[in-house]
């Protein structure tokens, strides 16, 4: 789980998976920008969807991994799972941030304003604050097991907001459009556009996997430093 067994081989694998993610991103983003026709209703500005939606979904995935890492830590008391949870929470926060900002730009183009206290936007902002709080909590506790325990609890409780974010567009009325892919019944999006969107989701997922690996390595290095600095009994 540490991922630091053989530094040379590990670096090679990490570089290879990073290159794969980079190539996949270039290909799928290019297709989204110039390879598919514009949306019938929104025109070219709908192309923002190909980066906005994957960012939002990857945020969901990242926070789900934080949930799993937290639960596994609480169950097994193995700090390796805490490192996974912490790493994924930070990456999820980055994806949430870019989803909010790209959504604001898309909102300005289609609704005429950067921000609205719409249910989807508001619950997403709350999601951002929850996981920013998660990272602040971690930064404020020195004892590793206490930090892991408390942040695992916050990671589990915080995840409750993820389905609220997703279904907010069905539960309350607002400006944000209803789900077009993950919804009861068939997706309402054109099949070609859906295929390109899924390709972008796949390449963003590769990027997430690579980032997660790098971030876990960083957390492992920090843990090792803390262990080295701990006074001998």
């Amino acid at each position: 789980m540490s991922g630091l067994g053989n530094p040379g081989r590990t670096l090679g694998r990490v570089a290879a998976s990073g290159s794969l993610a980079a190539v996949a991103l270039v290909v799928t983003i290019t297709i989204g920008l110039v390879g598919v026709p514009p949306d019938a209703a929104q025109g070219d500005v709908q192309r923002i969807m190909y980066v906005h939606v994957p960012s939002a979904w990857l945020a969901y995935l990242a926070f789900f991994v934080t949930l799993v890492g937290g639960v596994r830590y609480l169950w097994r008391r193995n700090l390796a799972w805490d490192r996974v949870a912490a790493a994924s929470a930070e990456i999820g926060l980055v994806f949430t941030g870019v989803a909010i900002l790209s959504g604001a730009i898309w909102g300005k183009a289609t609704w005429g304003k950067w921000w609205d206290w719409d249910p989807r936007l508001t619950t997403t902002a709350i999601l951002f604050l929850i996981y920013a709080g998660y990272l602040l909590l971690r930064a404020s506790i020195v004892d590793r097991h206490r930090r892991a325990r408390l942040s695992a609890v916050l990671g589990v409780v915080g995840f409750v907001n993820v389905p609220i974010v997703h279904f907010s567009v069905l539960w309350w009325r607002g400006l944000h459009q209803a789900p077009t892919v993950i919804r009861p019944g068939d997706p309402t999006i054109d099949h070609l556009l859906l295929a390109v969107l899924m390709a972008n989701v796949a390449s963003f997922t590769l990027l997430y996997a690579w980032l997660l690996r790098r971030r876990i390595e960083l957390e492992t290095l920090r843990d090792r430093t803390e262990i080295t600095l701990e006074p001998s009994p």
Binding site: I29, L33, G43, D44, V45, R47, I48, V51, H52, S55, I91, V94, G97, V98, L101, S102, I105, W106, K108, A109, L207, L211, R214, R215, E217, L218, L221, R222, R224, T225, T228, L229
Partner: protein
């Protein structure tokens, strides 16, 4: 702003944000590795470092006095 302007802005935010995070992560990784190595080196040299006999690097080359002997401020 026109459609291409909005698209450019959104893609810049997403790719710039993720790219910036990758660069930051790389720098933090290097810094953490350097810190761990420095701490490990320090721990490895500590057994011979028994105060008040300070390591050679702490000895003033001009006077031969060490921190442990209370040279005081102003070095």
């Amino acid at each position: 702003m026109t459609d291409p302007g909005f698209i450019l802005a959104a893609y810049t935010v997403v790719l710039g944000g993720l790219g910036g995070y990758v660069v930051t992560l790389d720098r933090r990784g290097r810094a953490a590795r350097r810190l761990l190595e420095a701490v490990a080196r320090q721990q490895a040299t500590e057994p011979g470092d028994e105060r008040p006999n300070a390591p050679a690097s702490d000895v003033d080359p001009n006077t031969g006095a060490s921190d442990a002997e209370g040279r005081g401020p102003g070095r």
